[in-house]
Amino acid sequence: MHELGIVFYIIRDVKKVAEENHVEQISTVVMDIGEVSTVVPHLLTDCWRWAADKEEMLKGCELKVNTIPAVTWCDDCHTQYETIKFGKTCPNCHSENTWLLRGNEVEIREIRVAT
């Protein structure tokens, strides 16, 4: 359940951006969440609803989650493959000399405000 902690981080960051841009009300926050980031999207949006509605600037603001597929690179056969399906072991050459290319993101992509 680190989703609540992450929601508090998102709120702090977007409030800062809103203040810098003289925005009073945010309508949508868009997140990029990697498939293997250990963040569970529906828990994140549940925690968001609870916490965001306590903030004047974020009342009713929607949190959109954009899922980033996880991709692993194999250093031995120089191919990439789906992390979720095959894990640490390369399906092409069975090497474990592999590392995550993407899929670990917990990023705020953008905020949307009605003008």
Binding site: F8, Y9, S27
Partner: protein
């Protein structure tokens, strides 16, 4: 005059990891502690792995050599802080995370403000019992350690890879129960090193005291390398 479109949406791009600020705070705290000569050990584990018992055994072996204080982090209660103070006599404070499953660098800093760090060589932070979240949030600690206990199983490094990746030290506790569990020590070592080739691994039994001297030596050596005056 153009008619204003009410539904027009302005997009402000951010493209920033939510952990970026915490990582900055953590690096700043780490540098500050280094300058003060204070070693901060972040101890993590699942609930029930024997963190508090291990700490009591460990502190009683090192408290004559270094000045040590403990910060206990839990969602609620102060049972651990009281237990540590009674069993070791070293200063111990309790931090409440207010429902959160981890500590971050800012919370760690607030905790440290309640300890006379100028009088300390070593502060041990007992993080919230959890194998997922504490690994995500850098506390600013000098070193990260975790305890894996035998009943939890030798496959945990495969299931919670990040925890084992961020830890400099893995303590394998409750070795006195090895005869009763299908725990393969060699397999466990391989699984840990697969995630983190530089991890130090020390098997102990906090109950019998087995391996505790080795653990105390490791910690004293680490503290001394940060602060050679000791």
């Amino acid at each position: 005059m153009p008619i204003p479109i009410m539904d027009e949406i302005k997009v402000i791009e951010i493209k920033k990891s939510v952990f970026a600020d915490n990582e900055k705070d953590a690096d700043a705290l780490r540098a500050e502690l280094k300058q003060k000569g204070v070693f901060l050990l972040n101890l993590m584990s699942a609930p029930g792995s024997g963190k508090t018992t291990t700490l009591i055994q460990l502190i009683n072996r090192i408290k004559d050599k270094v000045r040590v204080a403990v910060m206990e982090a839990d969602i609620d209660s102060d049972v651990d802080a009281v237990k540590i103070k009674e069993a070791t006599g070293v200063p111990s404070i309790q931090l409440h995370t207010g429902g959160m499953c981890h500590l971050d660098a800012e919370m760690t800093r607030q905790g440290l403000d309640n300890i006379k760090t100028g009088d300390m060589d070593l502060v041990i932070l007992e993080n919230v019992g959890n194998l997922v979240c504490p690994a995500e949030f850098d506390t600013g600690a000098t070193r990260n350690a975790m305890i894996l206990s035998v009943p939890e199983g030798d496959d945990k490094p495969l299931k919670y890879p990040l925890m084992f990746t961020v830890c400099d030290l893995v303590i394998i506790n409750k070795t006195d129960t090895l005869p009763y569990f299908d725990f393969d020590m060699d397999k466990c070592r391989t699984n840990i090193l697969k995630r983190n080739p530089n991890a130090e691994i020390i098997p102990i039994s906090a109950k019998t005291g087995d391996g505790l001297d080795t653990l105390a030596e490791w910690l004293l050596h680490e503290v001394n390398s940060l602060n050679p005056k000791l």
